[in-house]
């Protein structure tokens, strides 16, 4: 009898251990921008309800309030990592070069959700944005992150002010001259804009907004000899255009309008025109849902009718030290699934899946309200020729954007002549590249 009891107890023990082991909960931690918290928490709840996560997985969102790049680099260096990180296209190559991000090609090849070829599932530029040849042990390019959504710049305009001024709305065929003419007229004629203490255009000394115009005008990223291009006629012409609203008195900076950024000025109806991305839609929907607005592509260069733009995107990446890489990829599959991206699209984010942005019934193809129309313009703007990923290679955005920002500030705030400010910006970038060993001493002018 004792023997049978012993066997029974042992059997029960084994059964409980097996059940316990099979139900062991694995936590998958996602680290991303703290600003995404409301959207991500709602998305995670939605995906849990749909049962999209593996049954023994608990997904935990860890918002990072400070600099995401610093967080990723220090975590990767310390080898104390979460399972999934947001990787911004701005510094994705740098993170991949550490050798501590997991190449995802094999996972994609095995995936029913994202494979076997990611290009069949996501938009091509979004795949390329995270595809790098940085691992000497692996021939060719590897994919290091799966894009979650994307954005580009467009011109947002307040329809009421344009109608009041009797000026046609901005359209996709406008050139720089058309844009400036319309803005000047709205500033003169829209009396309610003046009454609100506003200006036709709200723009800041922001190099990210300026650069698409310079690239459209033919300015290369760097000159052929590797030197800074800001002193070229193309860069200077673009700077003249970009700063014209401020220097011409029909534009104001956000600070001068008493707001934090152009989106706030537009939402508060203190600006009739702003150059922003799809991230404008949320603030309008929540802060001024009755605002009658439209969106158009960035204006074309007057002579060559060229346009450029930036592709902003963020992807999910897995560190090589992550404990549960397969499960982490399963979570990424859920986060970029059709259902997840449809959920995001309903909240005005522009999803990375082809099926959602190209399907005939997609709001991005057949919008039914002005918010969806705005999202559609942003999506189409990304697809225009001349759109490039928001990356700065070895030069780095810190220096490239830093010296340009200082030049634009001098022009817009201190009224320094455009030529002087832009040529000084070129010299300063050359000095910084020389100090960092990116160019040889004497290779480029620094004085």
């Amino acid at each position: 009898m004792w023997r049978r009891l012993l066997i029974l107890v042992l059997a029960l023990g084994v059964a409980f251990t097996l059940i316990g082991a099979s139900q062991e909960v694995v936590t998958i931690r996602i680290v991303g921008f703290s600003g995404d918290t409301p959207m991500v928490e709602a998305l995670l709840a939605h995906l849990r309800d749909l049962g999209k996560f593996p049954p023994n997985v608990e997904v935990v969102w860890e918002p990072e309030a400070k600099d995401m790049r610093e967080r990723v680099l220090t975590d990767l260096a310390a080898e104390t990592v979460a399972d999934i990180y947001y990787i911004d296209v701005y510094w994705a190559e740098e993170a991949a070069k550490t050798g501590r991000l997991e190449p995802l090609n094999e996972y994609i090849a095995r995936s029913e959700e994202l494979g076997p070829d990611l290009r069949d599932v996501l938009l091509e530029p979004l795949v390329e944005a995270f595809e790098f040849d940085v691992n000497p042990d692996i021939p060719g390019k590897e994919i290091y992150a799966i894009a979650k959504d994307f954005n580009s710049l467009v011109i947002w305009y307040n329809k009421d002010y344009f109608q009041e001024a009797g000026v046609p709305f901005p359209d996709n065929d406008d050139t720089w001259d058309d844009f400036l003419r319309k803005a000047r007229l709205v500033n003169e004629r829209a009396l309610s804009l003046k009454a609100a203490g506003g200006f036709a255009v709200n723009l800041n000394p922001d190099p990210v907004r300026y650069l698409p115009f310079a690239f459209a005008n033919g300015m290369p990223f760097l000159l052929e000899d590797g030197c800074a291009p800001f002193g070229t006629p193309e860069a200077i012409e673009a700077a003249v255009f970009y700063t014209a609203p401020i220097l011409g008195g029909f534009g104001a900076t956000s600070a001068d309008l008493g707001v934090g950024w152009p989106g706030a000025a537009f939402t508060a109806e203190k600006a009739a025109l702003v150059n922003e991305g799809g991230w404008m839609l949320g603030p309008i929907m929540y802060d001024n849902p009755l605002l009658d607005f439209g969106a158009a592509f960035l204006p074309l260069t007057p002579d060559t009718k060229e346009r450029a733009n930036y592709l902003f995107t963020v992807g999910y990446a897995i560190p090589i030290f992550a404990e549960h890489k397969d499960l982490a990829f399963k979570v990424i599959e859920a986060l970029t699934s059709f259902e997840a991206q449809l959920f995001m699209l309903e909240r005005l984010a522009i999803p990375s899946r082809k099926a959602l942005v190209e399907a005939p019934e997609s709001p991005l193809v057949k919008p039914t309200n002005r918010f969806q129309e705005g999202a559609k313009v942003v999506f189409e703007a990304t697809s225009q020729p001349g759109t490039r990923p928001f990356t700065f290679g070895a030069v780095g955005g810190g220096d490239y954007l830093g010296v340009l920002g200082e030049a634009l500030t001098k022009i817009m705030v201190e009224k320094v002549p455009v030529v002087d400010a832009m040529k000084e910006a070129a010299l300063e970038l050359n000095r910084r590249m020389e100090a960092r060993g990116l160019i040889a001493p004497g290779q480029c002018p620094t004085e």
């Binding site: 600099d67 990767l76 260096a77 740098e94 550490t98 810190g398 500030t409």
Partner: protein
């Protein structure tokens, strides 16, 4: 012979006395109690410092194996124009901010040390900037120095009313002089800054300015508004970039109250008898301050100056917050240079160069504090 502190007072012990069981027991207990602190120091300071020294002689980016490069990082530092700029900025910042914050803190402490009704309110008010969130304070400051902010508004007003101000000051001086001369002529002991006479002069000058304005003799100058962009400009004043001067002003504003409290504690320890003796000798208020108060609080002043120098040489927070809008070359300091090399975009961290710069900053801080102690204000008080 060994001087040691065991039990009560300072005793001089023979070296062999240290081996006595009682001494060993006391030392053992002390060591055990100190262990947590020693462990923290060993890990957080000694180990980290040792690693930094090692990294400063290597080419290292956090991800590859450190490669020994000898003194290359140190020589590279002095070839980098931005490091030289950061070095000059750091010394300028330390010199100006430490001087002003010490002087203003002492002045405030002397003022709030008086026994006047309602002084507690003023003490608390002056201390508010020090206990407020640094982010909030920086945002308020950025709002003050904004292109359309209060500082530019005040400068515009001064520019517009400069004739009124000049007339007011001239009238005050003239009226005060007339009154003092009148009093003295009538053999009354009138001080040039006699408060009652000064009040009459101020009221008279105000009346004069109002009458001059009302009659149209004095008009408001038509000037364009001052719109200096204090944080984004590259303009300089006395060779110092305006954004950097703005950050100095911010730092002085936020640190003065803390040092004021330290000075206040020192002031309240000054024996009352010293002032009484000075008064018997006929010392004036300023003589008492200069010959009694300041010598008496020299140890406190040494503490304030030393803390001020260390804090200003290592300044980082306010530079990091304003560096987003200010031109980098206008505000960079050595501490920010270290950070900028570590997390500068477009490249993996330059740990070797950043470590070399950090060690240079540590050495600079040590040298400046020692020089200050040797040639400036020492910790020896009036009693020594």
């Amino acid at each position: 012979m060994v001087r040691t502190v065991l039990g009560k007072g300072v005793r001089t012990l023979h070296p062999l006395a240290l081996l006595k069981p009682q001494v060993l027991e006391e030392a053992g207990v002390a060591f055990i109690l100190l262990l947590p602190l020693l462990w923290t120091l060993a890990v957080a300071f000694a180990y980290a410092f040792g690693r930094a020294v090692y990294f400063s002689f290597t080419d290292y980016d956090l991800f590859k194996t450190p490669e020994w490069v000898g003194l290359r990082n140190y020589t590279q530092l002095f070839k980098d124009y931005r490091f030289i700029l950061a070095f000059i900025h750091t010394l300028t910042y330390a010199g100006i901010v430490t001087t002003f914050q010490t002087a203003l803190a002492l002045l405030l402490a002397v003022v709030v040390n008086r026994k006047i009704r309602g002084m507690t309110f003023f003490r608390a008010s002056y201390y508010v900037p020090s206990i407020s969130s640094s982010i909030v304070i920086t945002l308020i400051f950025m709002w003050l120095v904004h292109r359309k902010g209060m500082v530019n508004f005040a400068l515009t007003a001064i520019h517009q009313y400069h004739r009124h101000i000049l007339l007011f000051l001239a009238l005050v001086v003239i009226l005060q002089a007339i009154q003092v001369l009148w009093e003295r002529r009538h053999r009354l002991p009138a001080h040039p800054l006699d408060p009652v006479l000064l009040l009459i002069s101020l009221l008279g000058a105000t009346l004069g300015v109002v009458v001059a304005s009302w009659t149209g003799l004095l008009g408001v100058a038509q000037v364009s508004p001052v719109e200096i962009s204090w944080l984004t400009t590259e303009r300089k004043f006395l060779g110092i970039p305006l954004p950097f001067l703005s950050i100095m002003a911010l730092n002085i504003w936020t640190t003065v109250p803390t040092f004021m409290v330290i000075f206040l504690a020192g002031l309240q320890d000054v024996p009352r008898e010293l002032y009484e003796v000075a008064e018997l000798d006929g010392a004036t208020y300023w003589q008492k301050l200069w010959y009694v108060t300041i010598p008496a609080i020299k140890p406190v002043m040494f503490l304030v100056v030393t803390l001020g120098l260390i804090g200003t040489l290592q300044v980082f927070d306010q530079i990091a917050i304003t560096a987003g809008v200010a031109p980098l070359n206008s505000v960079i300091t050595l501490a920010y240079y270290v950070y900028w090399n570590f997390f500068g975009s477009g490249t993996l961290p330059k740990v070797g160069l950043a470590s070399a710069a950090a060690l240079f900053l540590a050495l600079l801080t040590l040298v400046v504090v020692l020089l200050q102690r040797r040639f400036g204000i020492s910790e020896k008080g009036w009693y020594s």
